[in-house]
């Protein structure tokens, strides 16, 4: 349409023709790059409108004091940041956020790698087992939370019933209303919901480890445990680093699961930074303050994001 290309002009080396062909090529190249720009234009437009512009204005908003219902604001400069950093809430939320991220991420990695190793073996109905394992990852967080709230129910929940009949506890536990139970519950549900991601990623990598490596280790007299540490784990290292970085970013910014499960409670003990942003903006009606929280949160995440992006760029080239 834009650049109709004929067959290459020169069949035998002919200086004049060669020069013409070359000239034609540069014209063509210019046409091509114009076409390339045309094709990327919709993406760039959408990006500017819904991502770049909001991102910049989030930073701008954080310099104002804005009352959410009327959206009227007054310039306060860096005041939001100053109040935020001396307020205890920021630090307790950051702490809760880190506990949640480290806790759930650790469980995800341990369960995920373990489960991948199990599913890599030839067990009965392997594909059914895989589908069942993957399912928590694909259902909506809303569904996951509703189901777990029902399991956690203090009077009629099956979990309390099982624990009591197993003799582990004497009285029903309040899983979401007290500390540290609430944090542990949130971490566990998070691990349940997101560990399948680790399973799939690790499983894909396991399948590409050459069998010869295991053969060689076996000939050298390595048992199953030694084979895991000397062959499997080094082979998984690369993919595990990527998974940990990605999941750390995603877990750090998790909103739905914690918000729906505990709402940040009891009081503020499971209130992570994304929840504070939401609370400031839509419950306390302090849009500017919320933006300041969001910007700080993004700055913290930026460390991980840059690490991850540098890594993928290295892989690309």
């Amino acid at each position: 349409m834009l650049a109709a290309v004929g067959p290459p002009a020169a069949r035998r080396p002919d200086p004049q023709r060669y020069a013409m062909a070359k000239q034609q090529q540069t014209v063509l190249e210019r046409q091509y790059s114009r076409l390339g720009l045309l094709l990327i234009a919709p993406t760039v437009l959408v990006f500017c409108a819904v991502i770049a512009y909001p991102l910049v204005s989030a930073i701008y908003l954080s310099l104002f004091k804005i009352f959410t219902p009327t959206l009227e604001g007054t310039w306060v400069g860096l005041d939001n940041y100053r109040t935020l950093l001396v307020k205890g809430e920021f630090w307790t939320s950051l702490r809760a956020n880190l506990i949640w991220t480290v806790g759930t991420l650790t469980l995800q990695i341990i369960f995920g790698v373990g489960m991948a190793l199990v599913l890599h073996q030839n067990i009965w109905f392997r594909s059914l087992a895989r589908s069942l394992i993957l399912f928590p990852y694909f259902i909506s967080t809303v569904v996951a939370v509703l189901v777990w709230k029902w399991l956690f129910n203090d009077l009629y929940g099956i979990l309390n019933h099982l624990m009591i009949s197993a003799g582990l506890i004497d009285w029903p536990i309040d899983y979401l209303g007290t500390m540290p139970n609430a944090m542990i519950s949130v971490i566990l549900v998070g691990a349940w919901k997101y560990f399948p991601f680790v399973v799939i990623a690790v499983l894909a990598r396991l399948q590409s480890i050459p069998d010869q490596l295991y053969e060689a280790a076996r000939i050298d007299g390595a048992g199953p445990i030694a084979r895991f540490f000397d062959v499997t784990l080094p082979q998984l290292r690369e993919v595990l680093v990527v998974i940990i970085m990605l999941r750390a970013i995603w877990d750090f910014k998790e909103f739905d699961l914690i918000f729906l499960l505990t709402g940040g409670g009891p009081v503020t003990s499971t209130q992570t930074l994304p929840l504070v942003v939401y609370k400031e903006a839509f419950a306390l009606n302090q849009m500017g303050m919320a933006a300041a929280y969001a910007v700080i949160m993004m700055l913290i995440m930026l460390v991980f994001m840059i690490l991850y992006m540098r890594r993928t760029q290295r892989e690309d080239t």
């Binding site: 834009l2 290309v5 067959p7 029902w150 799939i200 729906l260 933006a291 992006m309």
Partner: protein
């Protein structure tokens, strides 16, 4: 042999433990209300009933929410996949200034937390008079769906050998003709799996729907069902479990029929990032 059986039993007991919450959801949804409160609880329902499903469809606005979700997710998927397909083609196969930094930006936004974007987006959509519409959600959903789809499709596109396109060009095809005839058919599995993932993402999204929509006319399933929990006086768990099952049905269908596409997409995008 004995070891094999023991290992299988071990493996399956873990699998069943992981799947138990989902099993429990199904069981609860077909138990009559009074059976829920029995001690000890019945593992399989003594009496099977579909009254909760019936109640869900006739007494609540579930179907309305469901319909909103279908429209919302389908529209988002079509818009995003269309833009991302040509965008990914351009990013992978063309050379121009700023291409590298654009790819970098895509990855950056793919990792960006949505709570950062939601405040200005909220302001923007309120000012445009779009709040409480499905359109506002489609716009908001592109913020996470487009970078995601672009990133996935980029890796699929990079997997198509360049020679195929060159051969078509030598045969006299135009660049766009080659795209249409050669690239698109090759890319189709990638497009399908990207579309499925985008659909699932939009189907499950909660935060934007919570903030941007406050009326039942535009409310999707996630916030709609959650509202049923909050607004009901005494919680009817069977009803909520029935809603959860119904809400997961489209995902189960997608999952069952197209599992190979899903895992392929996962390998391309989920792991490489």
């Amino acid at each position: 042999m004995l070891r094999k059986i023991a290992f299988n039993l071990f493996a399956w007991s873990i699998v069943l433990m992981v799947a138990f919450p989902l099993f429990w959801m199904l069981v609860t949804s077909v138990k009559p209300q009074f059976e829920l409160f029995r001690r000890p609880p019945t593992i399989l329902p003594e009496t099977w009933t579909f009254e909760h499903y019936w109640k869900l469809l006739s007494d609540t606005n579930f179907l309305g929410y469901f319909w909103n979700s279908v429209i919302l997710s389908t529209t988002t998927t079509i818009v995003v996949v269309a833009i991302a397909t040509v965008g990914a083609y351009s990013l992978v196969r063309f050379r121009y200034k700023g291409r590298e930094s654009l790819a970098f930006l895509v990855l950056f936004t793919y990792l960006l937390p949505s709570v950062v974007l939601i405040l200005p987006l909220y302001l923007m959509l309120v000012q445009l008079g779009l709040s409480n519409t499905i359109t506002s959600l489609v716009i908001a959903y592109t913020t996470f769906a487009l970078p995601y789809a672009l990133w996935l499709l980029r890796s699929f596109m990079a997997g198509i050998p360049e020679d195929l396109e060159s051969a078509a060009l030598v045969d006299g095809a135009s660049r766009l003709g080659a795209f249409w005839d050669i690239i698109l058919p090759q890319l189709l599995p990638g497009i399908i799996s990207t579309a499925l993932f985008t659909f699932i993402l939009s189907w499950n999204e909660y935060l934007y729907a919570l903030v941007l929509v406050n009326s039942d006319d535009a409310r999707p399933l996630t916030t709609g069902v959650m509202n049923m929990l909050i607004s009901s006086f005494n919680i009817e768990w069977s009803l909520l479990m029935a809603a959860s099952v119904m809400m997961s049905v489209p995902l189960i269908i997608v999952f069952a029929f197209l599992q190979s596409y899903l895992t392929r997409g996962f390998g391309a995008g989920g792991v490489k990032g």
